[in-house]
């Protein structure tokens, strides 16, 4: 089977076709790793590039992401036996007192699209929940979002929570949201600030690849 066919189905968001082709590929003995890398994740890479080049919009990207997820769901039970690991694990959430989640959801979607496993804590997340989830799942990256000038200081509180727990250096902490800036990131000791979802995924991917801890290259 031609992996290009699967890639195109993902790009066009043809969920049913993606499921059929993934099953067909498995029946033909194609490895889980190859289906994942060549058929699914690389397709989302192309979709992400088209978005960055202003050729498509987020809704088109979401349709593709859902198709990719449907394919990954079929592969998941086989991944551990095949020695396949995600490119990285990401914990993401909006800080305590802040209910905004559209931007955060887009970041989560883009990170899933690059092959990361994303644990979304949602909105109005207490500081300690970021630490607890990151420790529980052995996260690589923690993404913290705030949209209000008055909730932005809670980003600092979350980072302090990691400091207080003595685990700050274990995680790459990324921050974002309308009032957030590089200056603020420097001030609170975040590892990265990004201004949009696409940039967040790029920075995360660059970190995970440079980290060289994972078995999958995207």
């Amino acid at each position: 089977m031609d992996m290009q066919e699967l890639s195109l189905a993902v790009q066009k968001g043809k969920l049913k076709v993606v499921k059929e082709l993934v099953n067909q590929a498995l029946e033909e003995g194609i490895s889980v790793q190859e289906i994942l890398d060549t058929g699914l994740i690389s397709a989302m890479g192309i979709v992400g590039e088209k978005f960055k080049n202003n050729e498509i919009f987020v809704p088109e990207m979401l349709v593709a992401a859902r198709a990719m997820s449907a394919g990954i769901k079929i592969l998941e039970p086989l991944m551990s036996d095949s020695g396949v690991k995600p490119i990285g694990k990401v914990v993401i959430g909006t800080v305590k007192g802040d209910l905004h989640d559209i931007g955060k959801n887009l970041v989560a979607m883009m990170m899933r699209g690059m092959g990361a496993t994303v644990y979304d804590l949602g909105i109005d997340v207490p500081d300690k929940n970021f630490v607890e989830k990151a420790e529980e799942i052995g996260a690589d990256i923690v993404c913290i979002s705030a949209l209000l000038t008055t909730t932005m200081p809670a980003i600092d509180d979350v980072i302090q929570e990691f400091e207080n727990a003595g685990v700050r250096d274990k995680y790459y902490i990324m921050i974002g949201g309308a009032p957030v800036s590089q200056n603020y990131a420097d001030k609170v000791g975040a590892d990265a600030y990004t201004s949009n979802a696409g940039e967040a995924a790029d920075v995360a991917k660059a970190y995970l690849i440079s980290d060289c801890k994972k078995g999958v290259t995207a």
Partner: protein, 459 residues
């Protein structure tokens, strides 16, 4: 008993201009909104800081500094009057006593300037809609609702002139609809859920306003249409979708005016233009002078039929000339001064048309706000009394107008935008015109963990 709007308040689009409306509002101090003069409406907020009990003294000091600066500038520049909006931070609604204290500082300072300098000012009180803090939202009871009632009641009692809100009924499912450009879910969120919430909410707000002598002002679909506008600005979703959403939020908003609200509509509610056409009530709007808060493709056209001209919100940060809220006040006053001078000289319609034509062909979100198009959409809305049907038909009419603009080659649309007109029309064409049947379909389609249909009076 709800009001019913079955026709437009205007016979001619030529009468549909800024600074004047069919049903002006006279405030307690005699200031008339929509009676011939456009006034600045200034909103300001704290710089980045925690909003807690511990920081309340500092917050109060900053609010006092901000309102003093704004009123001093308004007096120096001979503003004929000014509206100040106190849009609370969520923490100041959740802890209503904090918000009440700050409101009193603003109110007393405004009284002082009026007594001392004769500067007329009006205070718009806008608590947050905290009900979405519960997930799924609890709309009609509970501690969040109680806190909202408390701050509305006490600030109205303490002298707030106008009560307003950016309500969120239906938003809990519409957020996902926006990023998916999913009009089907938006019709459900706005026409079925949101409209029912507006009726209940605005009957309550109006009762509070009537009890304490305040004006039951207006709402804003900020979390629906402005979120769409901002995401379109960032290239995330089609501008065509944002333009259609702008029109489609109107039937939901109209429910407030059917249930006691009399205006002035809130500044960020660009749907106000349709409401003004239908109800004749005064409206606030924001555009180029709100770039301190958000960008938009409608900087001039937004002013074309406004009765108050706003900056949306600005933080207390120092700029070269002075603190940002004072800077913003000066900009708004000069905008209004020019518009009022044009009116005095008999050039109101000319200036309105310049404001319209300088924007309207460059972006679908501006095109949909051009007065002729506003009237066409408004006429479509009043054909029915059912908010669901109104929402559905408004969407279809908006798409028809955008398509016509493209066909006439007068509306500029990027290539990747054009086929979204067809895609969105297909979505709306698949919606049944029987509301009961549609609700039944959506109950199966929408994730029931995200909302509780009973909170909207539905089963």
């Amino acid at each position: 008993m709800s009001l019913q709007f079955t026709k437009l308040a205007y016979d001619s689009v030529d009468d549909f201009v800024y600074g004047q409306c069919k049903k002006p509002i006279t405030c307690k101090n005699g200031m008339i909104i929509g009676g011939g003069i456009i006034y600045p409406e200034v909103n300001f907020t704290l710089p980045p800081m925690n909003a807690t009990q511990a920081t309340l003294p500092e917050a109060k000091r900053i609010y006092k500094e901000m309102v003093d600066g704004v009123l001093k500038k308004a007096h120096e520049l001979h503003a004929p009057g000014v509206v100040i909006e106190f849009e609370t931070l969520p923490q100041y609604t959740e802890n209503p006593e904090w918000g009440i204290e700050i409101h009193k500082i603003l109110r007393d300072t405004m009284y002082t300037y009026e007594a001392k300098y004769g500067l007329k000012s009006v205070l718009r009180m806008t608590p947050n809609d905290l009900r979405e803090m519960s997930r799924p939202p609890i709309m009609r009871s509970g501690p969040y609702w109680d806190a909202m009632v408390r701050i509305f009641e006490q600030t109205a009692k303490d002298g707030a002139d106008i009560l307003a809100i950016e309500s969120t009924g239906g938003k809990e499912i519409n957020d996902d609809a926006i990023v998916n450009a999913d009009l089907r879910t938006s019709v459900f969120a706005l026409g079925c859920l949101g409209a029912r919430d507006m009726k209940w909410l605005w009957q309550n707000i109006t009762q509070i306003a009537d009890t304490y002598g305040a004006i039951s002002g207006g709402d804003s679909a900020c979390g629906f249409a402005n979120t769409s506008m901002v995401l379109a600005e960032q290239g995330f979703i089609p501008k065509v979708y944002a333009a259609v959403m702008r029109a489609m939020v109107t039937p939901r908003a109209l429910v407030a005016l059917e249930n006691g609200a009399v205006g002035p509509g809130k500044d960020c509610a660009y749907e106000n233009v349709y409401l003004k056409a239908i109800t004749g009530t005064p409206i606030s709007l924001e555009g180029k002078t709100a770039a301190c808060a958000h960008f938009s493709p409608i900087g001039n056209i937004a002013a074309s039929v406004a009765d108050l001209w706003s900056n949306e919100s600005i933080q207390q940060v120092k700029l070269l000339s002075g603190f940002a809220p004072v800077v913003s006040t000066e900009q708004l006053i000069y905008d209004c001064r020019l518009m009022n001078k044009a009116t005095e000289k008999g050039y109101t319609k000319l200036l309105r048309d310049l404001l319209v034509e300088s924007d309207c062909y460059l972006d679908p979100q501006a095109y949909i706000l051009a007065p002729e198009n506003v009237f066409e959409i408004a006429r479509e809305i009043v054909k029915s009394q059912n908010p669901f049907i109104r929402t559905l038909n408004t969407g279809k009419k908006a798409l028809e107008i955008l398509q016509r603009g493209v066909d006439k080659k007068e509306l500029h649309l990027d290539e990747r935008e054009v086929d979204w007109i067809d895609r969105l029309r297909d979505q709306l064409d698949e919606i049944p015109e029987d509301e009961e049947a549609f609700i039944a379909e959506m109950k199966d389609e929408v994730d029931s963990d995200k909302y509780n249909i009973k909170e909207y009076g539905l089963e």
